[in-house]
Amino acid sequence: IFGFFKGLVGQKVLERADLEPALTAMKEHLINKNVAKDISDSLCASVRESLIGQKVSSFKGLNALVKESMEPALQRILTPKKSTDLLRDILAAKAERRPFSIVFCGVNGVGKSTNLAKICFWLLQNKLRVLIAACDTFRSGAVEQLRVHVRNLKSLDLDGQGSASTNIELYEKGYGKEPALIASDAISYARSQKFDVVLVDTAGRMQDNAPLMQALASLVRVNNPDKVVFVGEALVGNDGVDQLVKFNAALKDYSNVAEPRQIDGIVLTKFDTIDDKVGAALSMTYITGQPILFVGTGQTYTDLKKMNVKAVVQALLR
């Protein structure tokens, strides 16, 4: 009797057209959460493929069904595929008696210098010796900005000694000089002075600005840093995708080496300014397959967090 009843009510086979309204709603929902349009499109397309041909008892719950199938996809994209344990990597370099170098790059004003300073704070808390290399030799006040951060960080009594810390220093050569050269001098200096980490600040640049992108590629090629970190802001819309694609392309196209470097990780800034419109996190990881190493959540040194993938997925689907 039960079987007969079930056959009568449902067991409809889902076809493309049945899914369209629910998928359109989901697409708009994701766009509204600031997921890039193309990425919303392709995510919905793959959910469609996975659902076509499935049997359902009624068409009523299709929105929920789409949401249910979207969730693991989002989870998968946002979950890092490789270790995000920077400290472990740094300690490994330390064991080899060499400084671990990280280059921060990205477009203008996204928070490269500020989040570099926050990461420096975190490294100091972990008792590492950090050298900051001022390789933005273009933007007014860029060097002074780092100098203020270094002064602030020096005066934080992290080691409980009550005296200015010797674990942090600024390496700068003022303005107008060749950034790649300053970075390489800084790394040599760090090696001789036994610094554990070199944080290289670079000038903001638009991804279509060929000369500036070339200069970045050259800085990376010459110095072959341990990590190339892309700094992107959570506020960014569809341009975020273009930024990442073109930064990677520039590192490849302008380097003339067989195995060019690519972006190794992302710092997602200004996460405190977007409420639940967390889509940029998804767009950036989707496009690069690289992990979000840190999330910037404010303007002070402690406003640096690890990303909570579950919370982001929930915010995206809510």
Binding site: N108, G141, E144, M206, G237, N238, K270, K277
Partner: protein
């Protein structure tokens, strides 16, 4: 440049309509969907896109059109007008008044380009013969005063700020008073970046506005901003009396749709656009030519007025 890509998409959408033999409901819907997709890809707020679509549909009721009318032309002009409405609040943009002290205050999100644009605007007015000065009321960001100072020095613009004063309200007041007494025509006040989620920062902005009594508050927005633009812009609008908008970084690939949505939220005209990091990288914004360019059709402006 800027909206080039969106422009060519819209143009090809309009062209495909021109080529279609019969213009029926389906052709119109396809066209509107294409336009909506292009606008979404350019970060125009999703609610605005819907409103735009509905607005066009409502204006063009294909069933009730008199038989003789040119349907293609009607659709083209309607699209043009609705796009203009999107970026044009119908208010004249700010111009400093001769023989009077003009105070301009810059506000906006962190890193939007306020300090850079302040210097650009000061340079722009200075070249036009105004007596201009810059005031740094950002006591928060590391190196903020040095940044403004270096820009101002390069352009030979008088400036005021402090390394020791920590109260931005006090600094703004002192700076404006000083330059007022010295008879400056245009006094531009730079402030820290802030966002709606931190109410104290907004409170500070209101206090600065209260003491400097600006003739115009300029809201600076980054062209790359996405769907969060509207909420931030509305919050700024509610907190201070925004008079103009400047969209920055339009030399990049970003199409500025998010920032355009901010215009809709603030109902304030776009005064200038920023097109580079140098002090001269500032351009006037003009709605009609902007939308014509957007559509890739120079003659549409004429059409719309008929």
């Amino acid at each position: 440049m800027v909206l080039g890509e969106l422009g060519s998409r819209l143009t090809s959408a309009l062209r495909s309509m021109t080529n279609a033999t019969v213009i029926d409901e389906q052709v119109l819907t396809t066209l509107l969907n294409e336009i909506a997709a292009a606008l979404l890809q350019s970060d125009v707020n999703i609610k605005l896109v819907k409103r735009l679509k509905d607005g066009i549909l409502k204006k063009i009721n294909l069933d009730e059109l008199p038989p003789g009318i040119n349907r293609r032309r009607l659709i083209q002009t309607t699209v043009f007008e609705e796009l203009c409405n999107l970026v044009d609040p119908g208010v004249e943009s700010f111009k400093p008044k001769k023989g009077k002290r003009n105070v301009v205050m810059f506000v906006g999100l962190q890193g939007a380009g306020k300090t850079t644009t302040c210097s650009k605007l000061a340079y722009h007015y200075q070249r036009k013969g105004w007596k201009v000065a810059l005031v740094c009321a950002d006591t928060f960001r590391a190196g903020a005063y040095d940044q403004l100072k270096q820009n101002a020095t390069k352009a030979k613009i008088p400036f005021f700020g402090s390394y020791t004063e920590t109260d931005p309200v006090q600094l703004a007041l002192e700076g404006v008073q000083k330059f007022s007494q010295e008879g400056f025509d245009v006094i531009i006040v730079d402030t820290s970046g802030r966002h709606k989620q931190e109410s104290e920062l907004f409170e500070e902005m209101k206090q600065i506005e209260a003491v400097v009594k600006p003739d115009n508050v300029i809201f600076v927005m980054d062209a790359s901003i996405g769907q969060a633009a509207e909420a931030q812009a509305s919050a700024f609008k509610d907190a201070v009396n925004i008079g103009s908008v400047i969209i920055t970084k339009l030399d990049g690939h970003a199409k500025g749709g998010g920032a355009l949505s901010a215009v809709a939220a603030t109902r304030s005209p776009i005064m200038f656009i920023g097109v580079g990091e140098h002090i001269y990288d500032l351009e006037r914004f003009d709605v009609k030519s902007f939308v014509s360019k957007l559509l890739g059709m120079g003659d549409l402006a004429g059409l719309a007025e008929k």
